[in-house]
Symmetry: C2
């Protein structure tokens, strides 16, 4: 990888980007041919950045440049370029910990807030595949390896307290990105906020009821505090199915610009939430009853596997690689000690499961009432159908957040989801 | 205050210190008279640093210089000088938040790891006063103001998430001092460790039973993880009665070199633990039965007041100064919202109380089986009497750590302590 800290920030549109890449010998060689012939396309469909795909005679790269504002909203919402630095830092760490599950880094320019990565081809954004009812048999295995390894190896179970504190400090400056999450996920959907939107008029009543639901407000506020003040591990921080690129045989996690040290359940919950939303959205996409039944079965099976395999892999790492300062082996010697430590590991995972369930619920509700929505639901053209799918998801999410203790296992979650598959909200009869 | 970053580190003994202070006009004027006539005494009785008292014709100052190793152990245990920087940082913050409850800062030299402070006179180290059965009627009020204000105003309840993360990062480098706590409080007393010691032979059996007590090992390991990974607020980090100087009418908290962002219960628990140890040690100091009964009654009353007044002041600050990102007011509007938020505050304090009880227990056990002991117990000359006092304290501490939930209120703690006042361990009959 080449690096460059020189030059002042400027937005690189097509021509400037072509010149910039042509000036980097490694990348020029990788792309191949005359720079003038390179095909450059802006493809950023995210909320924050410019993303270019550049193709030459020999190969291609993806180029991501941070903008000094939120792309989705515009210059009125400034956002620090330093997020590109944190994304690069997180991506580097993830590449070490979960090799092959993130795009290869080719070049980073801190001043330009620009990163050049391996072009993922023919990968597509997983969410698009889910809308099309595509099954990804490798997904559960890959994403659980990614999460188990990145979370475990950056936690107190694997690191000394000193290394852990250094990690926390290294990402502490990324608070503007954390603030987006704090506002858009943990606060705004539960109050009147200019940027909220939902499928009106069908969900007007539900939106109002969320704003008055004090059980929910207590629960979301506890989750918010946990998000702010529980630096358990280095999180991806935005691990939805739009941050995952897939083929039938490969999985790559992208876009960790929200990375910081936070509660593990936030990442795991994000994956579960987005699968559950794909499940509830599916009914809205079917053209004939039962058409997507196999897909829907796969989604719920995947929800179960994501938790089960994640927990299994995380526990295996804890049993085999516990080099951290937490739960020192010297206090759990002998047969009795080993048994008690194992019981403690199980209790730890049970606590993490409960937090995962809560965070998953928060991620669902924000996608239905907050600023940023999902194509899972958005591509359901009939607003009433869309609202019905959304209302089912919200019904599950509310239970998951307020009655978290009632969900003891992941099968309790998928069981509840299955029961809501054909549930009809009141407005559906109107 | 004057500041100076120049010069390389060197240990300033009497002559060098005299020259150094004579070169600082403000301090020279404050001390008054001919520097050659200044009276300089080394009084450091702590475990880590050099402390000088300097008196001139006009006034006096206290000078603290960090050594590059642990004074109690020697050069074989190096310790970074940077702790003087963190101590200075913490002291500055505490002075803002709890004015009048810490010594005034007069001068700091980062390179020399040296700080000059107001000379506290006629204050004595509180622990010495407690050994002498002195009552401090101002103490509970002052220490609870100190804790409520320093903890609340550095927490997510008072700060934005960004400010909080900046605070955490500013103290993250003080991990060598945290590591001392992690080892000496949360690990070593529960395993064979070279530096452990206890009142042998009487406590040999109890020491061995602690090493085999897996309920205790699980509990201490949970507390250790909380200590490492719950940056709730800026802690003093070493808030025992040796870090508090008192007169009948004044209280000053000193020596915050262990400061970092950690769980609030660790500071509150430290105060309670040291009062409880003073209580159990008292029987060992009496020359006639009942001689110290009034003092002992005052100690337990103070234990109760410390929690009750702390909780009351903390809650009042939360109700009146909640400028932080946690529990946003906008989610708790209306009468119902206000009631739910108040219930949530009470739940928060109940959780904090349970953690306080656990941390207090950890602080007691380390003083009886770990490296650093207390004069409360150490000055009981008869080892058997000392061991009896210590065994009573350990019996309470074990219950507090393992059956934390059984202590619902602070009266449960003082009630249990009172019951153990005359309890006799088995070895007492030997």
């Amino acid at each position: 990888m080449t690096g460059d800290r020189a030059g002042d920030y400027r937005i690189l549109h097509e021509a400037a980007l072509r010149d910039y890449l042509a000036g980097l010998p490694d990348l020029k060689a990788l792309l191949g041919g005359d720079p003038a012939s390179w095909e450059i396309t802006e493809v950023g469909d995210g909320n924050l950045n410019l993303v270019f795909i550049v193709k030459g005679d020999r190969g291609g790269v993806a180029v991501k440049q941070a903008l000094p504002y939120v792309r989705l909203v515009g210059e009125s919402w400034p956002l620090p370029l330093s997020r590109a630095h944190y994304e690069y830092l997180a991506l580097s760490r993830q590449a070490e910990l979960a090799p092959g599950l993130v795009p290869a880094l080719l070049h980073h320019n801190e001043k330009l807030a620009l990163t050049v990565m391996e072009l993922l081809e023919p990968h597509i954004i997983m969410r698009k595949g889910l809308v099309a009812a595509t099954q990804y048999p490798r997904f559960a295995g890959d994403i659980t390896t990614f999460m188990a390894r990145t979370l475990f190896f950056t936690s107190d179970l694997a690191l000394s307290a000193a290394e852990k504190k250094e990690g926390i400090a290294a990402f502490a400056g990324n608070h503007a990105l954390c603030k987006i999450t704090e506002d858009l996920i943990f606060t705004d959907p539960y109050r009147i906020a200019e940027q909220n939107r939902w499928t009106a008029p069908y969900l007007d009543g539900l939106a109002a009821s969320l704003r008055d639901d004090m059980d929910l407000h207590v629960a979301i506020s506890r989750l918010k505090l946990k998000f702010m003040a529980s630096p358990e591990a280095l999180l991806h921080g935005d691990l939805h199915t739009g941050s995952i690129m897939v083929t039938g045989s490969q999985t790559r996690v992208i876009d960790p610009e929200f990375a910081f040290y936070g509660p593990m359940g936030f990442d795991v919950g994000a994956v579960l939430a987005n699968l559950l939303m794909a499940y509830f959205a599916s009914a809205g996409h079917e053209r004939a009853p039962g058409e997507r039944a196999a897909f829907e079965g796969w989604v719920l099976e995947t929800v179960e596997q994501v938790w089960t395999a994640f927990a299994g892999k995380f526990l295996d790492l804890w049993r085999s690689h516990a080099a951290g300062d937490a739960f020192p082996a010297s206090l759990f010697a002998g047969e009795n000690g080993a048994a008690r430590l194992e019981a403690e590991r199980q209790a730890y995972m049970q606590r993490l499961f409960a937090e995962t369930v809560g965070f998953a619920a928060a991620k669902i509700i924000r996608r239905i009432f907050g600023l940023a929505h999902n194509i899972d639901f958005e591509l359901i053209e009939d607003p009433k159908k869309r609202a019905i799918s959304e209302a089912r998801a919200v019904r599950l999410a509310r239970a998951m957040m307020v009655e978290t203790g009632a969900f003891r296992t992941i099968a309790d979650v998928t069981g509840a989801a299955r029961k809501l598959r054909d549930w009809m909200p009141e407005f559906a009869n109107g």
